[in-house]
Symmetry: C2
Subunit: 286 residues, 2 copies
């Protein structure tokens, strides 16, 4: 049976998304929890597991830096598919009658709910831990005065009560997950929607403009660009570029070939289909 790694422990958003993805793949898969996103990705690179499903971007808080940095610097994996997951943040506590002084969660949900926390719990401290499930576990263990931002599943698992629902600052709160695998295992799909490349260009005036021109002049639509420090020197960046893959494959190939000539290096993470689902509704949205 194939193995799928996710950011554990049980009760995380990542686990809910991984269960959904495993069903979608129509293959029986063993889900394996890892302590960090980095560990889940490395487990694929080291072939301890076949796949991992990791978050890459949230619609409120932006990119998940550890995922981007690991993909750029540490591994050489491909994206098999993408899942757009609608996230519903719940506020959980053991004793709803106790005054809340500390709110625990992963840094992403803490940031997604920043305005809510400021207006509803201006005096409460926040504490960040490695996952939402770990936050629920802590809130359960510490008891009175502690709350966690986590999933409904975590509320059940850690015996907590939901005191507020959908507390994220913007109602539409999506996290994009990517399913990563090794090059020799990646499936080729007909209906691809997205493509991701990572590259480093020189710092010359107009370099990025020229690179984007290779796509724009062929009517290839770039849907997202994100920069990260190259970690070589201040002012040197690598770029994560996502492209609408729904174009003629020869044109796309030519654009990529031209673009790669302008880069110190270019990593192609492949073309892949995109699915959409929710942890609120059981059935698929799209």
């Amino acid at each position: 049976m194939k193995k799928l790694a996710f950011l554990g422990p049980h009760g995380t958003n990542s686990e809910e998304a991984a269960i959904y993805m495993a069903n979608l793949c129509k293959e029986k898969m063993n889900l394996v929890a890892y302590n960090t996103i980095q560990d889940a990705i490395q487990a694929v690179a080291q072939k301890d597991v076949d796949y991992c499903l990791v978050p890459v971007e949230n619609s409120i808080e932006g990119s998940v830096r550890i995922t981007l940095d690991t993909l750029a610097h540490d591994v050489d994996l491909m994206i098999e598919s993408e899942l757009i997951w609608s996230v519903h943040n719940q506020l959980l506590t053991k004793n709803p009658n106790a005054k809340i002084h500390t709110i625990i969660s992963h840094i992403q949900p803490l940031a997604q709910c920043r305005e809510y926390l400021k207006s509803h719990y201006p005096m409460a401290k926040t504490e960040s831990v490695s996952s939402t499930a770990r936050a629920a576990e802590k809130a359960s263990c510490y008891g009175d005065g502690y709350a966690a931002i986590a999933t409904k599943t975590a509320a059940d698992l850690y015996n907590l009560q939901i005191i507020d629902t959908d507390i994220q600052d913007v109602e539409d709160n999506f996290t994009r997950f990517i399913l990563l695998t090794n090059k020799d295992k990646v499936k080729k799909y007909q209906d691809v929607a997205n493509m991701m490349i990572i590259c480093q260009i020189d710092g010359r005036a107009g370099s990025l403009y020229e690179l984007l021109g290779d796509f724009a002049c062929r009517k290839v639509n770039m849907t997202r660009i994100e920069s990260r420090p190259a970690r070589t020197s201040l002012g040197e960046y690598i770029f994560f570029i996502e492209i609408d893959a729904n174009v003629d494959k020869d044109i796309l190939q030519e654009a990529l070939m031209q673009a790669s000539k302008k880069c110190f290096w270019l990593k192609n993470l492949g073309k892949f289909p995109v699915y959409k689902a929710s942890n609120k509704l059981v059935n698929e949205i799209n």
Copy 2:
């Protein structure tokens, strides 16, 4: 006497940089500590203080999202100058003989030292708090087994011992700080080096390419581009663009005018000089 806000409490990197900046301004300034970056910026907007000096980017961990998001969404301030601050992360603890099980810091230094922590303290948990000084205070208060990543000043202030120095993953660890003030107070300098704009463009294919073209075709060099979610919908972004301001001012003005026509909105945070200094060396580097 003028007031300058920084991210407190005493002993933070921000305070060290603020002291340096106050000296550079050749004006007597009262330094005022705020609990969060957001509060320091809002204090300027609400005219409780004249200036704030806040971090905007680190060479290892990338942009400081709360600074960018606050500048884009919540206030309408100008950048008066920039300080490139060379950061030296120290590992501090109360009792060097006790086995370290928890390492506390702000999320930025924790990320800057990620590889170091993984190789030297693989079993230690990390805990993020609102500033490096707060981390030192906590490590001092909790005692045995707790360490903080913080400044030398914090070691003195909170009676901790330095057990390792310069633990950041890359030797050159710079944080860029910006000095923010209100539009009616901003000084005009002759020797400007940098310029920052924030804008939102439509999601059409090639929109960003065309916008960058307004600068590239006039040989105006874009030195940095960073995207953040527009917080409207998944796939909509705002861009933070930095420009080498050392060009003819009429050409720059024309480029900006053309660019602004392609944007839903464009905020110009001004042209400003850039200084370089260090918390290791007492004298200015550059």
